[in-house]
């Protein structure tokens, strides 16, 4: 057996559930995951080599072919495209000599596009291996590529002062936090984690769950499930071992608030997990961190270690009898892993395929044990709520949507960044805070949410019964082509569909092609009917929320901005459809005829 593979297997005790970590180590070692390593890896894990490939090929940061010594991933979100993506794209190709999707002749650079990397407030941005560069311009690209060619590492370029990777300063030197507006719940310097944990661990789990339920706090992943109820169900589920998972796979395009929370409030996140562990009777916590946030890993590890040193984590936390520790699981590029059951599959070292429900994760989750998965923001909010009391929390927001929400605002506005607002705040108010003028449309909750018209919907409120926002708020002014935005979002869903079910795998491709047809001016009115019919099939028959929401960019713009479609539609004249290309249809005939005639001559 290959010695390097053997040592990687040993590092993780040949535990199949750690396959993601092993694949990262293989890629770090060789630059890609070649077919040659699969048999040894498979043998160590008692899997067929292609079973290993099955997992590896699911994640877009894992490469099966040489991908360059420096792998550059340029974020291609709609926001990036509004902020100079094209010029940066061209500059990267010109400077590296590589084309996007491949490597240059020397094998030094690999260029790839990637979906939102959680930097919508500082686009254009790219990852170079495990670090990121923001506010890119062609000049900055020239400088970076020049330094890489001169032998500097990406790390040295982004961190010339050599700040240790486990320091907050290291993260802050690389990316901006842009906390524009603090509210009562988040980014509170005064929270004493030690005292909070001490008081919580002294309280009975039932009492804490009751307080959480009373505060009417809902989970921040987007579905808005009651946080208290989730803990209760997990507590009541039978299992000798239970797990608390923090979903830090912030993949929804346009959101970046979890990144900023992990940067500035990691101890609140972890304290929230410890409390959750105490409530449900769990001994293990996992933070599933998206690979796009690799630069946070060492910093978060050092924060965990400090908490262990302070007896806030590990065996017998604060001498209160609780054993609870947390490990970080890295993802590898898959939006679908934001779905809690797909995330759990990924934690088990498999493809991020959403599971069938029932059973639900609170009954059978990680390794089939009861598992409570919550968003980063939920853990911080719960820690703060238990510190200040459920009455206090409940007094914030509206009757049915209590507390506050972090908005990640990006796009056409002068001050993109993080805004904490009470539920009940209007869309117009949020836009004014961010300096958005001349706004035409806003995408609420990212591509999986809805596109609203500022003129019609500006006075609508953020709350679960109206604009139920998962944190992403992208703003478009009147100069923007909304149909192009819709197209981009559909491409995103095509790229990110896991492919396990028919409607999402195949349906999104056809929806995308239909949008292309309309954009090309070859659509007719019946194509709009097709869009609606096909969208309903995808929405209602898909296995998980990805297909359940993917047609929303189309359906919501058809409702709010029908003119963007109507302008492109052609009236139907004569027997041929506008989409029918007569020349293309007979091109094959002409070629065949020419070839046959040629044969006759010969």
């Amino acid at each position: 057996m290959n010695k390097k593979i053997e040592s990687i297997l040993q590092r993780y005790s040949s535990d199949r559930t750690r396959l993601m970590d092993m694949l990262w180590d293989v890629q770090d070692e060789y630059g890609y995951i070649s077919d040659e390593v699969l048999p040894d890896l498979g043998e160590g894990l008692k899997l067929s080599p292609l079973d290993v490939r099955e997992t590896a090929s699911f994640y877009h940061f894992f490469h099966s072919r040489p991908a360059g010594r420096h792998r550059l991933y340029l974020s291609n979100t709609v926001i990036a495209k509004m902020k100079g993506f094209n010029a940066v794209y061209a500059a990267l190709e010109a400077e590296t000599g590589a084309r996007f999707g491949s490597i240059d002749d020397s094998g030094m650079f690999g260029l790839f596009e990637t979906n939102c990397i959680g930097l919508s407030d500082q686009e254009p941005a790219m990852m170079v291996g495990k670090v990121v560069f923001n506010h890119l311009t062609p000049a900055k690209v020239r400088d970076i590529i020049g330094k890489l060619k001169a032998g500097q590492s990406p790390e040295e370029i982004v961190n010339p002062e050599g700040i240790p990777r486990d320091q907050l300063a290291y993260v802050e030197a690389m990316v901006e936090s842009n906390i524009r507006r603090k509210g009562p719940v988040f980014f509170q310097a005064e929270t004493d984690i030690n005292a909070l944990l001490d008081s919580c661990l002294k309280r009975h789990p039932e009492e804490l769950i009751l307080a959480t339920t009373r505060s009417r706090m809902r989970g921040r992943g987007g579905a808005g499930f009651s946080a208290g109820l989730k803990w209760r169900l997990c507590r009541e589920a039978e299992g000798d071992v239970k797990y608390i998972i923090c979903n830090a796979d912030e993949g929804e395009p346009g959101t970046f608030k979890d990144r900023v929370l992990l940067t500035h409030s990691p101890r609140e996140v972890f304290a929230g997990m410890v409390i959750a562990g105490h409530c449900v009777g769990s001994v293990k916590g996992i933070v599933y961190l998206r690979a796009e946030y690799f630069y946070l890993k060492d910093y978060l590890e050092s924060q965990l270690q400090q908490m262990r040193d302070d007896n806030l984590l590990g065996n017998n936390v604060l001498d209160q009898g609780l054993n609870f520790d947390i490990r970080i699981q890295m993802g590898a590029g898959a939006y679908i892993c934001g779905d809690e059951s797909a995330l759990i599959e990924s934690c088990e070292g498999k493809r991020g395929t959403p599971r069938l429900k029932p059973p639900f994760p609170v009954q059978q989750g990680f390794l089939d044990k009861p598992t409570a998965v919550s968003n980063v923001e939920t853990f911080v909010a719960v820690a703060r709520m238990l510190d200040k009391g459920s009455r206090w929390y409940e007094s914030l927001g509206t009757t049915h949507s209590t507390g506050t929400r972090l908005l990640s605002i990006s796009g056409d506005c002068t001050a993109p960044g993080i805004y904490e607002v009470e539920w009940g705040t209007t869309l117009n108010h949020a836009l004014r805070m961010a300096g958005a003028e001349d706004s035409k449309a806003a995408q609420i909750s990212g591509p999986s949410g809805e596109c609203v018209s500022i003129r019609q919907d500006g006075e609508r409120r953020f709350c679960y019964s109206d604009l139920s926002c998962n944190g992403s708020l992208m703003v478009f002014d009147h100069s923007r082509d909304l149909l192009a935005v819709v197209r981009d979002f559909m491409q995103f869903f095509v790229d990110e569909s896991c492919g396990i079910c028919t409607p999402c795998r195949a349906g999104n491709v056809d929806l995308l092609h239909k949008i292309d047809l309309i954009m090309a001016g070859k659509g007719q009115f019946s194509d709009l009917d097709d869009l609606v019919n096909w969208s309903r099939i995808v929405q209602r028959t898909s296995r998980c929320g990805l297909g359940g929401t993917s047609p929303k960019p189309i359906l919501s713009t058809l409702k709010k901005f029908p003119e963007i479609y109507q302008q492109k539609i052609r009236k139907h004249h004569g027997p041929l459809l506008p989409s029918f290309d007569a020349a293309a249809a007979v091109a094959g005939y002409q070629q065949a005829r020419d070839e046959l005639l040629q044969e006759d001559v010969e």
């Binding site: 080599p49 099955e54 493809r351 492919g499 028919t502 056809d510 019919n533 096909w534 099939i537 209602r540």
Partner: protein, 235 residues
């Protein structure tokens, strides 16, 4: 425990928690499936068994029955969705029945007939996917794969329980793969089982093509509906 529920307005009794597709079949109501087969774990991949349960569209194969459940199978809206899913499978891959060895024993073809599909509402893509002919007894005609995952989940190496078939890539770039070493170790019955378990003509057994004459094949002598609901008519 026995429960009472309704399927298309008909009151039926069934064992609590049993599979909705099976319960419907046993009561003479055919729900098409392409990934689910009776007696095997639910895969929930094709979604062709979508029905309305208490008004919500859901895949019947993944739905355990419970007391008071109201199931609509023949509701026009959801019937159209089922047909749409079958249609999109025909256009996503390349399904040219007259030239396919599986014709007459192909479940996709039979379900297409059963739903009265004449043409797909979706544009034909005619994908070109490499076929895999490296294994001694099996060839993979990838153009026809519908990603049901039956072979991936149900056909395992006898000695080691490792996967013989697997999926690479994801989404519309997903591709069915075969481990040639393990495939060559498959006993003949398992090769036949793999070909039979495939609901389309993707897994083809080498050297036995057209052993059953056209006209006498499984779904040419008996429709899928008749097969599925045989138990209800026996009684």
């Amino acid at each position: 425990m026995s429960i009472t529920m309704t399927i298309d307005g008909m009151e039926v009794t069934a064992e609590d928690g049993s599979n909705l597709v099976d319960v419907a079949s046993d009561n003479g109501v055919y729900i098409p499936t392409l990934c689910y087969t009776r007696g095997r774990p639910c895969l929930g991949t094709c979604r062709v068994c979508s029905v309305k349960v208490n008004g919500y569209v859901t895949a019947a194969c993944a739905m355990p029955v419970s007391e008071g459940m109201t199931v609509d199978v023949s509701d026009p809206e959801v019937s159209d969705m089922r047909q749409g899913l079958v249609e999109i499978l025909f256009t996503e891959g390349k399904h040219n029945c007259p030239s396919c060895e599986k014709s007459g024993r192909c479940e996709l073809q039979a379900v297409g007939y059963e739903l009265g599909m004449l043409v797909s509402r979706f544009p034909y893509r005619f994908p070109v996917r490499d076929r895999e002919v490296g294994a001694r007894h099996i060839w993979l005609e990838r153009d026809r794969c519908i990603f049901c995952q039956r072979c991936v989940e149900f056909v395992r190496d006898k000695a080691t329980d490792r996967k013989i078939f697997s999926i690479s890539g994801r989404g519309s770039n997903a591709r069915i793969e075969i481990d040639i070493e393990l495939a060559d170790a498959m006993p003949p019955e398992q090769v036949t089982e793999a070909a039979e378990i495939c609901p389309v003509g993707c897994i083809i057994e080498k050297r036995v093509g057209f052993d059953d004459p056209i006209g006498q094949r499984r779904f040419e002598v008996e429709t899928l509906r008749e097969r599925a609901t045989a138990r209800s008519t026996d009684e």
